[in-house]
Amino acid sequence: MSLSRNDVAKVGLLARLALSDADLDTMTRELSSIVGFVGQLEKIDTADVAPLAHPLDTQNVFRADVPKPSLTTAEALQSAPRHDGECFLVPAVLGDTGAA
């Protein structure tokens, strides 16, 4: 299995990466090689293998609904490139959210 240049361009768009033509060539070759490597799994007969949802053999890990201290606003904002002391500031984004 290999990826087309169009596949890679689409993935690039979804990842908000500006890929040049040269980047697309490199990425198509490298991503195809990764997908090809993983593709070896297709040769294995998995008819009798139950699907695995998680590698750990653990289930039902919960915490109690008890509040814990949050960060201060200053702590929360300290690594943000831009903020106004209350909120993170980002360039205006047009359109609406992708999901909810």
Binding site: F62, A64, S70, G98
Partner: protein, 495 residues
Amino acid sequence: MTATPTAAAPFTTVIGLEVHVQLQTRTKLFCGCSTTFGAPPNTHVCPTCLGLPGSLPVMNRTAFELAVRAALALGCKIAPFTKWDRKNYFYPDLPKGYQISQFDLPFSSEGALEVVDPKGALSRNVRITRVHLEEDAGKSMHDEGAGTGDTRIDLNRAGTPLCEIVTEPDLRSPQEARAWLNELKLLLVYLGVSDCNMQEGSLRVDANVNLHIPCDGGRIAKTPIVEIKNMNSFRSVERALVYEVARQYEEWQATKAEMGKTPKQTRGWDDPAGVTRAQRHKEESSDYRYFPEPDLVPVTVSEEWLAATREAMGDPPSVLREKLAAKWKIPPYDADVLVNQGRELVAYFEDLAERVGEGKVASNWMQQDVLRTLNERGGSIDAFPVRPAALAELIGRVAKGDFDTSRAREIFAEVLASGRTVDDVVASMGIAAVDDDELITLCRELLAANPRVVADVKGGKEQAAAGLIGQAKKKNPNVNPGKVRAMCLDLIRQM
């Protein structure tokens, strides 16, 4: 109701809803930050809900149990095994770059919720496709007025537990969609799953709608499905759907565009303008590149756990309506009105009915006096100043004939206004039971003073006695009009 077009609408309207409700937990889905609404921006945040490297989510047990309760109440099958998935998209209010949601193995599916009009005009079983648990995003604030071009991000809401409820396209009119949402909200509030407060964003609705239009040769043309967003009240949902149905029919007449030939469209509801406007085209679901969430382990739900959840759930509104009507012998309409006001009001009614001993009398007072006053004054039934014991006493004294219902209403109003007890008010208004001797004396005086009325009644005009009641009330405001009338007629017959 059948799904066939009528003369009034030469097409069938097909509506499906997607509802997100915030679960009533104290903390977020994956961390211990508070979910209290209205806190200053970015004060309920921690490394986990900020999506900082190295942080790990741990699931809130209460959130999961509330979601299961909602699914059970909606008649859904609960999956014995469920897992979480990452839904990938970029937006500044989603700090991790993905939302933890459920994709191929949601914890529940295949339920239904019926909407029933007590008057019998409307009844539809709406199938639930699935219910799943996911986290909310933060809040983006676009300050267009300031013209700075910046968007401010508050992540207090990020990671709040949401239950997503998706219906099959089973609704057939905007009115029905609104009625169904009311029933869903009532159910979730009753079961303590969510407060469903739309102003605070605890309940959000998106609607998918299209039209099925019969064409020549029996073929059915289906208009492109439109998803409507940004509806801030159930009334907006109804208005937006009414608008969208008309818009789609007009567009179909002009373009004959059918489903599948154009991509699914998202339109936003502009409430002040009363129109829907086109937004970006909806991405294909594969664009979200779902994959299993490695940071959360799966959940398996045992039969014992389910049984315990069912046990603790209490009656849903539909069952409660039937129980109330049967237990207190009140009409379905009365039971519907009472149940629709919420659990606290039902408790008040049952307390009152128990004391009064007559369900219908108690219900009449609830509907006419208590509910009307509550609507006028606002506030909750739990804070209502006239408690069931006091109201039952008032009703009991009417039954005994101490005073009539209209006098009792005056007392009720005075108790409300002054906050004093019924006894106090009765004493201060000079209301005392009028004994039979007093009544006879009073009636004799009246008859002596009104020979004309006596003559009229003797002549067969019993209604003439009505003129005496006003005079009797002037002489003694505590007399019972019914008793005065009966007594006067008796006395005249004996004359």
